[in-house]
């Protein structure tokens, strides 16, 4: 926001980059969430598993496809923002680059979660509904905590103050499991130069992804690849 022709900002392109990468990651994860259940629904999964294919490699291939697609899209996004930065004079900054790097963790977590939901769901519609519901709750808590914590208590009524407290506590609790919360935390840690927290968050994100993928593999083995199983 310019005031008297002057503006002071930490990283004006961080929020647009966060929004863009979040939409991208969610879109690709949504595709992942319907992929397995749709293939099972259409019977193509059964045909596919007639060949030398195991459950783990199938899901890894699906996951890799999403991540590769995300990385391609991320390259386009980075080029776009770099051009905009050069044209406008707005600095990209450390927070922008950490948001871009952190979005890969976001995409991997949401894609793995999408695959798990897809494996567990009976049909693509259920998978979509469950995936969107869970992610919208997580995004809602993050957004509410972000908006409300930036608002002074002096302008809020007592009931809203306690709502604010509840969302902030929920956001703090979800910091370790919600990718939307820990990616923001990662950006803050990078800004502060807190290498330990950065390492913990990256490790946690990798572990979550691996855990979700192994759960999806187990679930696929149990449910099988035939329609109606």
């Amino acid at each position: 926001m310019l005031q008297g022709g002057v503006a002071i900002s930490k990283c004006p392109l961080e929020y647009p980059a966060y929004l863009t990468t979040t939409i991208l990651a969610l879109y690709l994860a949504l595709c992942a969430s319907i992929s397995v259940s749709r293939e099972r629904d259409q019977g193509t999964l059964e045909v596919l598993f007639c060949g030398p294919m195991n459950h783990g490699s199938y899901l890894m291939a699906r996951f890799s496809e999403q991540i590769v697609l995300f990385c391609i899209a991320l390259c386009c996004v980075t080029v776009y923002f770099t051009v905009m930065s050069l044209v406008s004079g707005l600095e990209l900054g450390l927070r922008f680059w950490s948001t871009i790097a952190g979005s890969v963790l976001l995409a991997s977590y949401t894609s793995a979660f999408g695959l798990l939901v897809s494996v567990l769901s009976k049909n693509p519609r259920t998978a979509t509904a469950v995936f969107l519901l869970v992610n919208l709750i997580l995004i809602g808590i993050r957004t509410a905590a972000s908006v409300l914590s930036g608002t002074s208590n002096e302008v809020l009524s007592a009931s809203v103050i306690y709502l604010k407290l509840a969302t902030v506590v929920a956001d703090r609790a979800l910091r370790w499991v919600s990718p939307f919360s820990y990616c923001t935390w990662l950006t803050d840690a990078v800004e502060l130069g807190d290498v330990r927290i950065v390492a913990i968050i990256v490790a946690a994100a990798v572990i979550y992804t691996a855990l979700l993928l192994s759960l999806a593999t187990k679930a696929l083995q149990r449910r099988g690849v035939r329609t109606g199983q």
Partner: protein, 460 residues
């Protein structure tokens, strides 16, 4: 009753019931309204607080219903244990003490507990606050024990000396005025003239003490490293009821140098850049006036609770936020070095400036360098002191340095000219059209394949 005449007997009863009910409700509401304007006082133990806020001392209160106190680590903080009358004032949403009706110091020692173990026992101590540059100054120091007594005695003596000097001055002034009046009378009535040497010089008005020392009181002076403690007041072998509280002692997360930026055309509305990650964007070719202050970054939750200790909802929901707090008066000992790439393009010194209103009836002002020799025209004091920065559009780096040239930690900022990019809005639609293009091509390809497939049996 005329109004009730057309109403039948059962409905008349209902109307009467309604009227009686309404009157009861109204009387209840009136009673509530009357009661709500007189708060309910309660005798209770409170801690009167005089806490360090990073820049100066702030007064507060920790009433019994609020079980936590927040103070900054490694600073002297005053916790005065009082038995008083306190009440909740809903208009400001905080507890208030009625000191004038009851204020009894509770004797005892303050026990500081960490991990269930008493780590420090603090006795009541005489203390005072000394304001070396006057009561309205932010510069305050806590003096304890004999130093407090000596400082207060010295101040009391200085005030007494001033009062004596003021009495003498008033007498001398009265004598002077009567002498002058007599000389005027002689000039007027007797035509007498006086030489320059005969005219008496007026007495010099004595200066009051430039500093202030508060009266000496007793309290616990608490200075602890960061951590979460429990405190309580012990009287012999019993704990004073209501004195047990959590004591949060917090450290700053980071410290740095704040750039307070005043654009020339809106100098009263300053922008603040507190951390080195900030970039200053300039959309116009205008001079900037920059002031430098030391800053420290604290947890918003702890700091808000420190500043509003008697407000039960203060700081709630701010646990994840941080706030930069100015921790020094304006730094006069620094310079700003302006870099373009690796080349120093200028080095600016802080100067005093005066805001001069335009001479005509139209609104407006200009900012000019204050001239100490033209105080009649410009006023006795400058409006503000700042670094004036006016650079052509481009990309710069500002670095605050000591007069020796050594850069100060946290004192760097990027300065960039920014261009409007509103006319590039259409670029956001590129992916959409690209997607539509891919979709159309794919549909066309599938359509071609399908038609080829349907033609195949006819040919064969």
């Amino acid at each position: 009753m005329t109004a009730l005449a057309p109403v039948t007997a059962p409905s008349r009863t209902s109307v009467l019931c309604f009227l009686v009910g309404s009157m009861l409700l109204m009387s209840c509401a009136l009673h509530y309204a009357a009661a709500s304007s007189v708060p309910e006082m309660e005798d209770q133990f409170v801690y009167g607080l005089t806490v360090w806020d990073g820049l100066t001392y702030t007064s507060g209160l920790s009433p019994q219903p609020i079980d936590e106190i927040h103070i900054i680590a490694d600073s002297d903080n005053i916790l005065a244990p009082y038995d008083t009358r306190a009440y909740f004032w809903p208009i400001t949403g905080e507890y208030v003490a009625d000191w004038s009706s009851k204020q009894i110091l509770v004797e005892g020692v303050l026990e500081v507990i960490l991990d269930g173990r008493v780590v420090e026992t603090i006795a009541l101590e005489t203390y005072t606050l000394r304001y070396p540059e006057g009561f309205n100054s932010l510069n305050v120091e806590v003096l304890t024990g004999d130093r407090a007594l000596a400082a207060h005695e010295e101040y009391r003596q200085a005030v007494s000396d001033f009062n004596e000097a003021a009495d003498l001055y008033r007498q001398a002034l009265a004598e002077y005025n009567s002498t002058i009046a007599e000389m005027f009378r002689q000039m007027r009535e007797e035509g007498k003239t006086f030489s320059k040497e005969e005219i008496p010089t007026p007495p010099t008005e004595p200066e009051p003490p430039s500093y202030y020392v508060q009266s000496v009181r007793k309290a616990f002076v608490v200075n602890l490293p960061g951590g979460q403690y429990t405190i309580r007041v012990r009287q012999d072998d019993r704990i004073v009821p209501g004195s047990t509280k959590k004591l949060y002692v917090f450290d700053p997360r980071r410290s740095g140098l704040s750039f307070v930026v005043r654009p020339e055309d809106s100098y009263t509305v300053a922008l603040r850049s507190d951390s080195e990650e900030h970039t200053l964007y300039l959309a116009k070719d205008i001079p900037l006036y920059i002031q430098l202050f030391d800053v420290e970054e604290y947890s918003s939750y702890h700091y808000t609770r420190l500043m509003n200790s008697a407000n039960p909802t203060a700081g709630l929901g701010m646990q994840n936020e941080y706030v930069w707090v100015i921790s020094s008066p304006q730094r006069p000992d620094l310079r700003i070095r302006v870099y373009r790439g690796n080349r120093i393009v200028s080095e600016i010194d802080e100067k005093p400036y005066q805001v001069v209103q335009t001479q005509s009836s139209a609104l407006g002002y200009t900012i000019v360098e204050w001239d100490p020799t033209a105080t009649e025209m410009m006023g006795p004091k400058p409006t503000f002191s700042a670094f004036r920065l006016h650079v052509p559009p481009g990309e710069y780096r500002l670095q605050a340095v000591f007069s020796s040239g050594e850069p100060i930690s946290g004192g760097g900022r990027a300065l960039r000219g920014v261009r409007k990019i509103g006319h590039f809005w259409w670029t956001a639609l590129v992916p959409l059209f690209l997607g539509l293009g891919v979709y159309t091509v794919r549909r066309y390809s599938i359509g071609t394949l399908q038609s080829a497939a349907t033609r195949l049996p006819e040919d064969s």
